[in-house]
Subunit: 332 residues, 2 copies
């Protein structure tokens, strides 16, 4: 007993994570199809005790499929999601293809599970940086509406895919061996370096990742009133993002209140040990479901006690992508 599930982009970084999490959580599956581009078709992938051969995605791939988990890039989703929906499937799409469509719910299960009901076949999974910021920000916003967010990200290369993760390792090796290295996946040398997020820059100077954080947060929170500025940056880390988040609330709020609220918030774990200087780190967030939150403190630059600073870390491939999508599927 279970659902007929297809994974679109099964050989990618998020695809592998889909498989791992479906297995871990005993998701009820009657049949599992692994779909990819022509390049990866024919590969064998282990799922539990089975070995499944990856098939090239085509217009007939979705017949009889009930649930599609898609993470093969925006253009692939644009092409195949409508076909899958026409075949009767529900598509949970991890790309940015449909996120801002009015007809498509954009869902973080801890925040707006009720939006799922309005779906017309496609449900969008938000951008990874958006999810990692908002799982801890939403419970605070519910109690004391947030007026403005200033966020700076420290993003892992996993967001650029499995090839970028391999490239960071290659680049680090070359650096340590004093060999020259020219990246081919990432736009700049990733090892022992930091660079502005590798997405297109708009006329206003914001890159696409930053615009996603701003627009998606407003859609998920159901408010256009929240002011947000973001600076998105890549760091030489494999798979967990960090974010320095500065919040301005409507009313005064103490760091004690913030800790109280976050200690009960779903999907959040407080890691905030000032004495041991132990705070959220990518090596601790990697492979975990919770968003780690620490450095919680009253912002001394905001008069009237309305400001809070905090620092978070979350696994980009899990809660930032695959886990959030599978939580949506479980709600369905």
């Amino acid at each position: 007993m279970g659902y007929s599930v297809a994974i679109l982009g099964a050989t990618g970084a998020v695809g592998s994570e889909f498989l791992k999490i479906l297995h871990e959580r005993n998701f009820p599956i009657s049949r599992l199809k692994l779909l990819s581009s022509a390049r990866s078709a024919g590969k064998k992938i282990r799922f539990g005790d089975e070995e499944i051969i990856v098939e090239e995605a085509n217009e007939k791939s979705f017949e009889g499929v009930e649930l599609v988990l898609a993470s093969a890039g925006s253009s692939v989703s644009k092409k195949f999601a409508p076909i899958a929906v026409a075949c009767g499937a529900i598509v949970i799409d991890n790309t940015s293809a449909f996120r801002m469509d009015e007809d498509v719910p954009l869902v973080i299960p801890e925040i707006n599970p009720q939006d799922i009901k309005k779906h017309k076949g496609i449900i969008a999974n938000p951008n990874c940086s958006t999810i990692i910021m908002n799982v801890p920000v939403w419970p605070l916003h519910k109690v004391n509406p947030i007026r403005r967010i200033v966020v700076s990200t420290y993003q892992a290369v996993s967001g650029a895919g499995a090839a970028a993760m391999a490239e960071l390792q290659e680049a680090a090796k070359a650096y340590l061996e004093n060999r020259p290295f020219t990246p081919t996946v990432l736009p700049h040398p990733p090892a022992f370096n930091v660079f502005s997020h590798d997405s297109e820059i708009g006329e206003d100077g914001y890159n696409l990742e930053e615009r996603k954080m701003i627009r998606e947060t407003r859609k998920i929170f159901h408010t256009q009133d929240i002011l947000i500025t973001a600076t998105c940056v890549r760091v030489p880390v494999m798979r967990a993002h960090c974010e320095a988040i500065n919040l301005q609330f409507t009313r005064p709020i103490s760091e004690h209140e913030v800790r109280e609220i976050l200690s009960k918030a779903p999907g959040v774990r407080i890691v905030d040990d000032r004495e041991r200087n132990y705070f959220p780190m990518p090596i601790d967030a990697s492979g975990r479901d919770d968003i780690l939150v620490g450095r919680i403190r009253q912002d001394v630059s905001q008069p009237g006690g309305v400001g809070i600073d905090m620092f978070v870390s979350g696994d980009q491939l899990r809660k930032g992508a695959a886990l959030n999508a599978i939580q949506i599927a479980e709600l369905l």
Copy 2:
């Protein structure tokens, strides 16, 4: 013809940079003494064509010395700086020992060179993150006073010394070879990781590095009115810091105006190519004197056009430490 100079902490990361820059800039030296702790005494260090033997610093080391460049830690400066001053030397101190003393000028030559005149023997070099932020922030502040700064740092390990730089390389090597690695210099595994700055946390939740950025900026700018919050974070980078800086001005300011002002500012180089997605990076800032500034854009979260976001990168060992100190010496 020249000055009798002593370097206190000659074998450290900043010490090596002092030697390199003194040589590059042809600083007039009649006699050069290299001082260190007992552990490093006896080492031979090349300076130009000479080889100089490092001596253990003691109370008699400063007789006949006219200029001391100190970067051997706060407690070493506290002990030896007054002795050197009593011997008639001027001490330019790169540690935090005297920075907030009322009698000690805290100087960034591009900002407050006039403060040097008030010295009573000791002149303090600001914290590296403070210098890197303020070289580009000051010329903007002069034209349109800044009310508030929200800054998040991406700090290289060089700030923790030469041993930390070696440790990052060792840690990266161990990671790539799948060997366990326990750091002994830095408090957390530095490779493929990010962690909150390794300085003491105060009761208000800010760490010492953050408090330095706040207090030192106010002293250098000669104003207590500027509101600042900072989140200081270490990233796996060798020797150049980055900072995401969010500014609130008194009056509206356009990104065009900011670019105009910064294109003429001393010590600043604009690196802001949106089409090529090319912005300030540690690999470009390393070994350079200028602070690189890019991602200059109007902050969409501040009504009335009073907000600007930007991203900077500067060499922590050069402008963040040794170069700034030698520029002070040149002014003297």
